[in-house]
């Protein structure tokens, strides 16, 4: 299927995290399979549980194929790489997958390696994912999040997400993706900033225009 990137669409961009670590964010590619398998091995047991609930000990070939075979429209994922480190390892993935029964809904999952958490990377990826989803006609992000994942739930609640109980241990989180010029995106980001600290964006190379609200995202 999609072995390469679509001809039009997002390219990579370099961003600086709250601790000034530089990361390259670009769409996940089929050739990232190996990187993804290694990344999973580096994920702590707790992080795996928060991501997959009852997490497999390793990702099978079938899982890896599924998670890297993207069409960039119904199934899209950003991957982040620590470009200043030897080997430029992959450190985070944020993906959405459209819900076939509610085509304007998509399920979202964001995973950041333990050592790179609390630096604003998850929030940055979620925001970039929202940009991409909006372009592809998705209006609502849905996520299944363990109640134990307090930090994420608190951030989502502050950003106006609807959070409701699902099966034992699990919350269903739904958040409307705001229009680009809407003030709610700013409030979403501000809320996220309060939780995670400042995110600065240094857009070096991008297929998209810098978003106007980026300038407004300053600490209060």
């Amino acid at each position: 299927m999609s072995e390469s990137l679509p001809t039009s669409g997002p390219m990579g961009s370099i961003h600086e995290l709250t601790d000034e670590t530089r990361v390259l964010v670009r769409p996940l590619q089929h050739s990232d399979r190996h990187e993804l398998a290694i990344g999973y091995e580096h994920l702590s047991a707790e992080a795996r549980r928060l991501r997959f609930f009852t997490a497999p000990s390793r990702l099978s070939d079938a899982d890896l194929e599924y998670l890297t075979n993207l069409d960039y429209r119904d199934h899209f994922a950003w991957a982040a790489f620590a470009i200043d480190e030897p080997g430029q390892p992959g450190i985070a993935v944020a993906r959405y997958i459209r819900d076939p029964s509610h085509p304007n809904h998509a399920e979202v999952a964001v995973t950041v390696l333990d050592d790179y958490q609390h630096r604003g990377l998850g929030t940055l990826l979620l925001e970039m994912l929202a940009d991409q989803a909006r372009r592809n006609g998705i209006t609502t992000f849905v996520s299944h999040i363990l109640w134990d994942n307090r930090e994420v739930l608190e951030t989502m609640a502050a950003a106006g997400a609807r959070i409701e109980p699902e099966e034992p241990g699990v919350a269903r989180v739904a958040i409307e993706i705001p229009a680009p010029e809407s003030p709610t995106l700013v409030s979403l980001i501000r809320a996220a900033l309060r939780a995670f600290g400042r995110v600065t964006r240094e857009v070096l190379q991008s297929g998209t225009e810098p978003t106007p609200e980026a300038d407004e995202v300053q600490p209060e």
Binding site: P56, Y66, P168, G169
Partner: protein, 605 residues
């Protein structure tokens, strides 16, 4: 009043207010008072051969003091922790009160706990003395690792060290013990009960004398109108479980006789011997009695009559609500009363009037069935952290399917996300030496966060609808965290996924999926070589291999939490079947539904 047309959901409800506790309140008071005022009153009973032997309040307190002196003589200072691992028996209660009288803190350990759990509780609780029931328990503990510089001292109830302890205490003056007792107060720590969280090690819930005593008063306030002067209870739940503990304490406070059952397998016989008027039980017990009566009727060829009688009992109860005891208003009900209901009542000994049910949800139908039969089941709600009772169904305020209204002095609030919050004097101070867990369990306004999800109806009855914690609650009332068990099972290279099940079931079981890639290269002797996993789910060699992973996981938990059975699924969990979300998160509820027949097979139903 709610403005017309506006629907308002009740978000907070409080029981009647209550006065603050006197600071001297402690758990010894009712025992000492009874021993002084009615020394001949029967307080407990234990089985000896074919009969139960009564123990008076005077005898009980005397034995309690002798043990307490022995504990003091052993060097325990006020506040020191004594772990107590035993099945429910007279000595459990004696030791508990003796530990408290000596100024100590009781740290209960389930009799079925694993060596790993014992080690953890003794270590984390900084336990100075370990009281175990049997030499096998001592060996289990000693076999698991090194003791730190002679601590804890180990006392074995069954091998005579108990007498030795009492002899040691003879040197301790009465006044020394009295001083220890007089220094007890509402704020003194009485017990630290370890509970499992969703991940990580069990945490110690710190409950004070005040927490437990006030919960006794709150409970008696709620059910007092049902209590008669000569109540008899049969005690069979593990006293390490806070529900069993509080109902035992209610009996002591009220002056009931508490008879100690010997073994679950002798329960029916002992119901008949003791003829209790009140019990505390978990849903599994009620299910067993119902299923037993139904099966017996079927064997005798009266299955249809029993089923009809059960329907009538349920309907009768739905109409008559909480009236007690059954005024025979319907002819059908009266007929079945003789034919069927008396036999069900007889299973409980024939005199049982009410039963507390807790530890897990009891079905609404079963509650109505027993009410229709003449046994009022009072379902309540609480956690170890709340001593435990927060709400209970009671006479005049009884609504099956709910867990009742808030107790006196207790407030229940529903948070915006649905979580049940609580305030009240029975709520604990925090987790033992775990500031972080403690602060996470209270919100900014000091409400205790239960981790359960529910709603309050217009009349203030609480209904439990879900759970924030990823926990399984078995029908035996045991909380089991699936995640740590699953982690250990998955450590086996052949296994890709493990889903632990057992919510509202009699025991814990697991569904296992096999890693196809690892399976293809797996070559143990007797291996089903060349076959697909789907063809090999029953292969003895594969099952034996999976069993080793299950055994390893079971090392970390007690027998009540351990995985008794498992099934190997023919294929991995898939997105297509909805067992995984599109981003591959496991949906337990869907898996359990999809493999319903497989799970039913595991439970033999």
């Amino acid at each position: 009043m709610t403005p017309a047309g506006e629907v308002m959901m009740m978000r907070e409800m409080s029981g009647l207010p209550m006065d603050p506790l006197p600071p001297t309140t402690n758990l010894l008071e009712p025992v000492i008072q009874r021993a002084a005022e009615e020394p001949g009153r029967v307080m407990a009973a234990y089985r000896d051969g074919n009969h139960f032997v009564d123990v008076t309040a005077g005898e009980f307190y005397e034995r309690c003091r002798a043990i307490a002196k022995g504990i003091v003589a052993s060097g325990l200072e006020p506040g020191g922790r004594v772990a107590l691992m035993s099945r429910t028996r007279l000595e459990w209660l004696l030791f508990d009160y003796a530990i408290l009288a000596s100024g100590g803190v009781t740290v209960p350990i389930y009799e079925t706990s694993s060596a790993e759990q014992m080690q953890w509780i003794v270590h984390d609780g900084d336990v100075e003395m370990l009281v175990v029931e049997t030499t096998a328990m001592r060996e289990l503990y000693e076999g698991a690792g090194s003791q730190e510089d002679g601590r804890p001292e180990i006392v074995v109830i069954d091998d005579g060290t108990l007498d030795e302890l009492a002899r040691r205490g003879e040197a301790v003056a009465d006044s020394t013990l009295d001083e220890r007792i007089h220094s007890l107060g509402a704020a003194t720590i009485a017990t630290i009960i370890y509970t499992s969280g969703t991940t990580g090690r069990p945490k110690g819930c710190v409950l004070t004398h005040g927490n437990l005593r006030v919960n006794v008063w709150q409970t008696i306030d709620a059910i007092g109108s049902m209590l008669q002067p000569d109540e008899v209870s049969l005690l069979f739940l593990p006293l390490a479980h806070v529900l069993a503990k509080i109902i035992t304490l209610v009996g002591v406070e009220w002056g009931a006789k508490g008879a100690f059952a010997t073994d679950m397998s002798a329960l029916l016989e002992e119901f008949a011997m003791v003829q209790p008027t009140m019990i505390a039980a978990v849903p599994r017990i009620f299910e067993k009695v119902f299923n037993g009566a139904q099966q017996k009727a079927q064997v005798e060829g009266h299955g249809a009559i029993f089923d009809k009688a059960a329907d009538v009992a349920v309907q009768w109860s739905r109409h008559h609500g909480d009236h007690l005891p059954h005024p025979l208003t319907s002819a059908e009900h009266a007929l079945f009363d003789r034919l069927v209901y008396k036999k069900v009542e007889a299973a409980f000994g024939g005199r049982l009037r009410f039963a507390f049910s807790g530890g897990g949800p009891l079905g609404e139908r079963l509650t109505h069935f027993f009410n229709g039969v003449g046994v009022k089941v009072l379902e309540g709600y609480g956690l170890t952290e709340t001593s435990p009772t927060l709400t209970v169904n009671r006479l005049g305020a009884w609504k099956p399917g709910t867990v009742g209204q808030a107790l006196m002095g207790t407030s229940i609030r529903i948070a915006p996300d649905g979580e049940i919050l609580a305030k009240g004097p029975q709520i604990f101070q925090g987790y033992w030496r775990n500031e972080q867990a403690t602060s996470e369990t209270f919100d900014a306004e000091e409400w205790f966060k239960t981790g359960d999800i529910g709603d309050l109806d217009d009349d203030g009855y609480l209904r439990i609808t879900g759970r924030k914690k990823e926990l399984i609650v078995t029908a035996a009332g045991k909380n089991v965290a699936p995640a740590p068990l699953e982690d250990r099972i998955r450590a086996h290279p052949l296994i890709s996924q493990a889903v632990v099940v057992g919510d509202a079931r009699p025991f814990v079981a697991a569904l296992i999926t096999i890693d196809e890639e690892a399976f293809a290269t797996w070559a143990a002797p007797g291996t089903p070589g060349g076959t697909a996993v789907s063809q090999a789910t029953d292969h003895p060699a594969l099952l034996a291999e999976v069993q080793t992973a299950i055994d390893d996981a079971n090392q970390s938990v007690s027998r009540a939490e351990s995985i008794r059975k498992f099934a190997v699924l023919p294929h991995d969990l898939t997105v297509v079947n909805g067992e995984l979300t599109p981003t591959l998160k496991v949906r337990r509820a869907v898996v359990e539904k999809a493999y319903g027949p497989v799970i039913d097979d595991l439970y033999g139903s």
